[in-house]
Amino acid sequence: MISEIKSSPLEAAHVVLGAKLVPFAGWNMPVQYTSIIDEHTAVRTACGIFDISHMGQFIASGPTAAAWLNGLLTNDIAKLGIGEGQYTLMLNEAGGVIDDLIAYRTGETEFFLVVNASMIDEDFAWMDARKNANVTLRNESAQWAGMAIQGPTAVEVFAKVFPDETLPPRNGIMTTAAGAVVCRTGYTGEDGFEFFSPAAEGIAWWDKFLAAGAKPCGLGARDSLRLEMGYPLNGNDLSPERTPVEAGLGFFCALEKGDFIGRETLARQKTDGPAVKLTALRYLDKGPPPRAHYPVVSADGTVLGELASGVLSPSLMTGIGMAYLPAEFSKIGTPLQIEVRGRLFSAEVVKKPFYKPAPSA
């Protein structure tokens, strides 16, 4: 199947800003505007804005929507009050990850789901095939422009653009007077919010956030920021062959809530301990930036696996990465090596996150 590459509703703004656009998850998206390191630093020290229009939005509603979603997702959606959200995962029957997403309760019987761009069609097909007569599921992905405004001064940027509105608390969601959706979430470890507006209004909002002090940031910085926090990226760190327990995301799997797809495997792995674990590695010395698929080697030279993600951390100025490794090699402090173009570079297992953002004022 040949699929056309999609354009963000904000693309014209990126072109004016001189962004480098690259294909990502079927979308033509900005990877950087000026410099990944500058953009990364802006988010860690002030405020950056990312185009996230490629991400998908589903609306699930109906009298049994909550119970239905609880059968499809790992976290306990019954714990959400109206206006609250949670990180959650959708699994296949074997407990492997189809997608990770954020689910918000926007009404007693209505939920707003934000899913990964690359998985919109697959997620929708999976969910649609399993819904019942009392549930309505709509894919609104094409109707929304999305932006993530992130950094220690994101709250000030919000106040300039919305002097009469109040940001929701962490993981909360609200609708502005103008009909846009604001979620107090992000993928950088910094304070901030994600913002969704009707697609046609996207550029006008983008320009307002820029005028209020947000610096345009591309997917390059988005990746280095999320990896410094140890946040997984579906397709790299999550896959249908790996479970959330193996990925270290057991906290988001509410085994006690009752049955859901994939639960059996998770329960077994939680009891027995997973055989492999997504393990955080950090270089001990200087070296070439670690990247996905580089081999991870034990101290005695045995290849144990490969990096699922890797980057030269702009905050730490050292190589960091994550790899699925046999559990006995995942203990903090275990000496390991990363192979780059035939040479071995010393690394050790560290605790996530790699980088701790400064507490917000």
Binding site: V31, T34, S35, G287, R291, L312
Partner: protein, 125 residues
């Protein structure tokens, strides 16, 4: 774009400064701007013989690793330890402190087959 007239250029964006039989090699201003944020330079071993077009060094940005090719055949006689210690020199001074390696060339006449500044400027325009 800054392409000094006294240098020769390869289609793969390396520049060459020939002095006697020694060719100094780096990457062009255009190349460093495309790569942005050079964070790592892997230098070749001194003494290594290379043919024109051989991957000889690696320059890495946050996002990607790029091979640097030998623009002409020769033997690596010197590498720049400063770009190993401070890779950003490739960005800030690509034709000066950001040089990468020096070759003792096999045949200095081959350098004249590389592009001059005007031809290179046309390639990247």
């Amino acid at each position: 774009m800054n392409n000094p007239a006294d240098l020769r250029y390869a289609t793969s964006h390396e520049w060459v400064r020939l002095e006697g039989e020694i060719a100094t090699v780096g990457i062009s201003d255009h190349a460093q701007e495309e790569l942005t944020d050079v964070v790592f330079v892997e230098l070749p071993a001194v003494g290594r013989a290379v043919d024109a077009g051989d991957p000889t060094a690696v320059v890495e940005s946050v996002k990607a690793a790029s091979d640097i090719y030998a623009p002409i055949s020769g033997e690596v006689v010197e590498v720049n330890p400063e770009v190993e210690a401070d890779p950003s020199l490739v960005n800030t001074d690509p034709y000066g402190k950001g040089w990468i390696f020096k070759l003792k060339v096999k045949d200095a006449a081959h350098v004249s087959k590389l592009m001059d500044a005007a031809a290179y400027a046309a390639q990247i325009s």
